[in-house]
C-alpha cells in the first residue's frame, strides 16, 4: 500500500505509526522521564520549601554528602534492605505453594483462585488499617488468638520495634504472595504433562517429581518473580505510612517514607531529591536486568 518512493525518510505508514504513538510517548516523557531527570537536577540544589527567601542555591553534591553522613538515612536503607530480603524470600515460598495449589485440577478451582486474589486486590491503605486493627493492643484478634482471655498478658504488638518490622513483612507477604504465585503459575503452565507421566512410569514419587522436574523447569519463572518482587518491595511506602508511620522510633522507616518526610514534611526539596535519586538508581539497576530478561524474549519473537 505504501506508494512513497523508498528514499523518503518516513513512509506514510511510519508517519501514521508515530502519530499513533505520540500521545503515549508525550505522557511518558513529560510525567515519567522528565521528572526523573529533574530529580537529579533538584538534588544538586539547596531548596527549603518553607524558606523561599533563601533562594535555591546550587550546592553540588552537598545533599549526597549529608545523605551518606546521616545515620537516619543509613537506618532507612537497612530497614528497606531487610524488608526486601525477608518479604521476597517468604513471598516466593508461599507464592510457589499457592501456584502449585491453583495449578492443580480440582472442582471449584476458580473459586480458590479468586480467593487467593483477594489480598492482592484489597487497597494497601485498607489492608494496612485492617492489620493495624488485628494487632491492636486491646481489641486485636492477634491477642485473642495468642492469649485468649488472659487480658493482662495482651501486648501492644506495633509498639515493639522488632514486632512492628515483622508485622510489616507479614502484611506484605499476605498481600503479594498471590501475585508472585501468578508469575510462577505462568511458568508451571509451560511444563508439559508428558514429563510427569514419564517420571511416574519410571517410579518417581511425588517429592522426586517436584524436585527433579518442577523446580528446575520453574527456575526462569522463579527468577522473574524474585526480580519483580524485589523491585516492588524496594519501593514500599503505603504500608509503612498507614500502619506505623515509620515507628516505633524508626524501626519501619523505609527509604521512600524517609524521602517523603524529608521532602514534604520538612520541606527539604533538594535533600529529598537526593534520597529519591538513590532509590531510583537502586531500582533502575534491577530493572535493567529485568528488561533484559523479559525484553530478550520479545526480541526472539520479533525475529
Amino acid at each position: 500500500m505504501s506508494e512513497n518512493p523508498p528514499n523518503t525518510f518516513l513512509s506514510a505508514e511510519h508517519r501514521a505509526a508515530w502519530w499513533m504513538l505520540a500521545p503515549a510517548l508525550a505522557f511518558t516523557l513529560t510525567l515519567a522521564v522528565y521528572p526523573v531527570i529533574a530529580s537529579f537536577i533538584l538534588s544538586l540544589y539547596r531548596i527549603i520549601l518553607s524558606m523561599p527567601a533563601l533562594g535555591e542555591p546550587f550546592v553540588g553534591l552537598e545533599n549526597y554528602v549529608l545523605l551518606f553522613a546521616d545515620p537516619a538515612a543509613r537506618q532507612a536503607f537497612m530497614v528497606t534492605a531487610g524488608f526486601v530480603l525477608c518479604s521476597t524470600t517468604l513471598e516466593l515460598a508461599f507464592g510457589l505453594i499457592i501456584a502449585l495449589v491453583i495449578h492443580a485440577q480440582f472442582r471449584g478451582r476458580g473459586w480458590v483462585r479468586a480467593a487467593a486474589l483477594i489480598p492482592w486486590v484489597i487497597p494497601t491503605a485498607v489492608a494496612s488499617q485492617m492489620w493495624r486493627y488485628l494487632f491492636n493492643d486491646q481489641y486485636g484478634l492477634a491477642n485473642l488468638i495468642v492469649f485468649g482471655d488472659r487480658v493482662a498478658d495482651y501486648i501492644p504488638w506495633l509498639a515493639s520495634p522488632g514486632l512492628a518490622f515483622s508485622i510489616m513483612v507479614l502484611v506484605d507477604v499476605w498481600k503479594t504472595s498471590s501475585f508472585a504465585a501468578l508469575l510462577i503459575l505462568a511458568g508451571l503452565q509451560l511444563i508439559p504433562d508428558e514429563l510427569y507421566e514419564a517420571a511416574r512410569i519410571d517410579g518417581a514419587n511425588l517429592w522426586q517429581r517436584f524436585w527433579h522436574i518442577t523446580l528446575p523447569l520453574l527456575k526462569p519463572a522463579l527468577l522473574l518473580a524474585l526480580l519483580f518482587r524485589t523491585m516492588d518491595a524496594f519501593r514500599v511506602f503505603d504500608l509503612a505510612f498507614v500502619m506505623t508511620q515509620g515507628g516505633p522510633g524508626d524501626a519501619t522507616q523505609v527509604l521512600q517514607l524517609y524521602g517523603y518526610k524529608a521532602m514534604f514534611t520538612e520541606g527539604r526539596m533538594g535533600y529529598g531529591s537526593a534520597v529519591s535519586v538513590m532509590v531510583f538508581v537502586a531500582i533502575f539497576a534491577l530493572s535493567l536486568v529485568y528488561v533484559r530478561t523479559v525484553g530478550s524474549r520479545l526480541m526472539e519473537r520479533e525475529t
Partner: protein
Amino acid sequence: MMQRLLLVLGISLTVVGSLAPFVWFVLTSFKTQQEVEAVPPLWWPSGGWHFYRAALFDHHLLSYVGNSVIVAGSTTLLALVIGIPAAYVLARVKLPGKPWILGGLLTVSMFPQMAIAGPIWRLLANVQGLNTHWGLILPYVTFSLPLVIWILASFFKELPAELEEAARVDGCNTWQTLTRIMLPLATPGIFTAAILTFIYSWNEFFFALLILTQPDKHTLPLGIALFQGEFTIPWGELAAASVLATLPLVFIVLLCQRWIISGLSAGAVKG
C-alpha cells in the same frame, strides 16, 4: 493419596490465609460500639448496619466513593484511548527503536514514586493542578500506560496477520485497520487492560497523598488511611468504610478472575 492430602491442605491454607483477616474486618463492621471495644474481643457481631450509615454520612465516605469513581473511571478511559493505538503500532508496525520504547515502558512501570514526586509536585503547582482530580489523573494515566500497552501489544501479536493484509488490500490505512478490523477482535485484551487499570487507580495511594490535600477531593484509599475520629480511631466506622471500598474489587475478582490472571502474567512474564 498423599497428593490428595497435600492438595486439600494447600487449598485450605490458601483460602483461610487469604480470607480470614478480611472476614474479621467484615465481622467488625457489623458489631455494636460496645462489641468493637470489648476486651477480650468478641467473635460474633449483633450490631447491624449502623456503622455503614455512620461511615457514609458522618465520615464523607460518599464523597470519597464519588471521587474514586471519577478518578479511576477517567484514568481507565484515557489510558485505553491513548494506549490502544500505541500498543497496536508497537505490536504490528516495524519501527526503528521499537525495542527501546517497549523496554523503556517496562522500566517506567517500575519507577519508585519518590523518584518523580518532587518534580511532579512542582509541575502541577505551576499549572494549578494540585488538589484537582485531573492533576491526579495525569500521573495515573502515565503509570497505567506501560501495563496497558504491554498487555495489548502481546494480544495484538497473537491475532492472525492475514486479516490485516486483507484490509490493506482493500485500501485501509493503519488507523482504519486498527479501528475496523483489530479493535473488535481485541475486546478480551482491552477488557483485561481496563480491569487492571481500574484496580490500579482505585487503589493507588502515594500520588493521591501527594496531590490531594483537601478532604473533599480525597479518594477512597486516602480517606481510609487518614480516617479520624474526634479522639480515637473509630474502628467500627473504619471497618465499614473499608468493606465498602473493597466490595467493588471483590466483585471484579469474582467475575473476572480469569482475565486478571492472564493479563498479569502477560504484562509481567510472557512479553
